[in-house]
């Protein structure tokens, strides 16, 4: 493999000039450029990936931690950050956190050893203590989708509680009085907060989710199906079903259909996240829109700002509120049924 010195020698210039020609870093006389390009071609020169990476570690680069690439939610998130990085001309390195606290911590380590200066992390599994330690150790770390008290200026988060509360209220206002819910079995911030929101809205109207009206399962289509089976076995009776997210909601619709109940005729169903499926399913899902793209952008902006030379104070909006997207899976109860 030819190296940059070989090219330089062949072209009769210094290695620095070869670098300039390749990267367009600074102006080079046309005749020189041609000589270099000829040499480049003649040796079919390939810059060494590793040497480049090493020499460029000084440049600011952004790191991203996501759980996976294969879910729509993370696709949107990643796309958004990729666009942001491209636009701001910073390198982006991505690491997979997976489904565990260890995986998330490992991902951070990976990014650090890749020389990332700023990091945006979507974390589900790290504890508040662990996150606090990380935030203290890594000044440029920004959290996407978690709120850690004391670090409000480095968090971009969705108010799940208020979102869930608003969604429940929508159904209450539509006349529903018999509720059930299916929640994600894992106790992460999202599931705890959404449940709290539902309860709060219901209690505000003198209702509450009884134990036999609450089912927990995997956060998947199959999980949603199973959860509804649980509810029906419990002989829970409900006209409105609150679901942790869209995938569970869709699974729930199938389970209800298999039990002879149609949506929204017999049961009103609402999801959360406004994922792609919510728009393409039948019936289309009423759900909460999660402004991932916006939030990802804000997180990227924040992270980059934290390593910028000029630490200008920019207004930071950390809290985002999901809004109801009304579609076809819920309905207003007829008056006679309510009264």
């Amino acid at each position: 493999m030819a190296k940059i010195d070989d090219v330089a020698k062949l072209a009769g210039v210094s290695p620095a000039t070869v670098s300039r020609v390749m990267n367009g870093t600074s102006a080079v006389k046309a005749s020189t450029r041609e000589k270099v390009e000829a040499a480049l071609a003649q040796l079919s020169y390939r810059p060494s990936h590793s040497a480049r990476a090493l020499a460029r570690t000084k440049k600011t680069s952004l790191g991203l931690v996501v759980a996976t690439f294969s879910e729509p939610f993370f696709m949107s998130l990643t796309e958004s950050i990729v666009a942001f990085a491209t636009e701001n001309e910073v390198n982006l390195t991505t690491a997979i956190g997976g489904d565990s606290a260890e995986g998330e911590a490992e991902a951070i380590d990976t990014l650090l050893s890749h020389g990332c200066k700023a990091i945006v992390m979507h974390s589900k599994y790290l504890s508040v203590e662990q996150l606090t330690d990380l935030l203290n150790a890594i000044p440029s770390l920004v959290l996407l989708n978690r709120l850690v008290l004391g670090f409000e200026d480095r968090c971009v988060w969705l108010d799940n509680r208020v979102g869930a509360e608003n969604m429940a209220r929508r159904l209450i206002d539509a006349g529903h009085r018999q509720f059930a819910c299916i929640n994600r079995a894992e106790k992460i911030d999202d599931s705890v907060d959404r449940f709290a929101g539902w309860q709060r809205a219901l209690q505000h109207h003198g209702m509450a989710l009884a134990e036999h009206s609450v089912a927990e399962a995997d956060c998947t289509l199959a999980g949603g199906y199973d959860a509804v089976v649980q509810l029906l076995n419990n002989k829970a009776s409900f006209t409105a079903l609150l679901c942790y997210d869209d995938s569970m909601a869709l699974g729930a619709i199938r389970a209800l259909a298999d039990a002879g109940l149609s949506v929204p005729k017999h049961v009103s169903i609402v999801g959360f996240n406004d994922s792609y499926m919510a728009r393409t399913s039948y019936p289309k899902l009423t759900t909460m829109h999660y402004p991932v793209e916006q939030m990802a952008l804000e997180a990227g902006r924040l992270a980059l700002q934290r390593i910028a030379a000029e630490k200008m104070i920019v207004q930071h909006v950390g809290r985002y509120l999901p809004v109801v997207i009304a579609r076809q899976s819920d309905r207003r109860l007829a008056m006679e049924a309510v009264s």
Copy 2:
């Protein structure tokens, strides 16, 4: 980010010793080791990925070019090479060739700039001329699944023609006399050779594939479906259908079912590749087993051997022959129907 010198200073040793402790390269006194490990932990030291990569470029490393990771065929292939690399303690770098000659060439470049010393490539789209140039330029390049004349000692290939011929003969021997085929539309070695094999077997028995009995389409399930629709529109009449590969065969089965024809009752169908789906479909597919794992291993062995110091001459088996795996999608024609 702490650097290795910081760790060394804190532990009161030289950077070299820190490296030895981390990598277990050579013996280190227990007391020294402990000091170093303490320093490592205290600074929560992360070796720089790029610096490591650069310093390690001397080590032999193997490169692999595949079209994609998401098809079963390439999964098997990749798995096999990964195991091989692990076993032989060489680093493995993988690059995606995609669906074009440019992509394949690009992948090779990527591997070279990553410092790969030996390369195994699965190429579909590069021309024989391009491959010849590459083989001349890169002494350690080994081709998987292509035969380039003059480089027999660096090719590991499947004899598609003879394989296809054997498969067609099986059906002839089973009494079939009315044939049709569906082939991949792209003219790559595989599709050309398999077609040639079919024709050869049929001509040997005084038959031939008439134009209206040949359909071409994408090499996918949907493509297989479409191809059969073409055949039926052509009013082609056949008791045996030769398919380019398993996915097209499976699509074909669906199309036939939709047309009221059942497999193997009305039509005998055979695939190629013996992919995962062939064993799990209904009916299970009679197909040709493609010994990817074995071939990948041989290619890896060959590539590594070409950069080995001791150039011992090892017997090289380049040509592989697929064998018929008889399952349920074809049948012997009853005597009365034949006579």
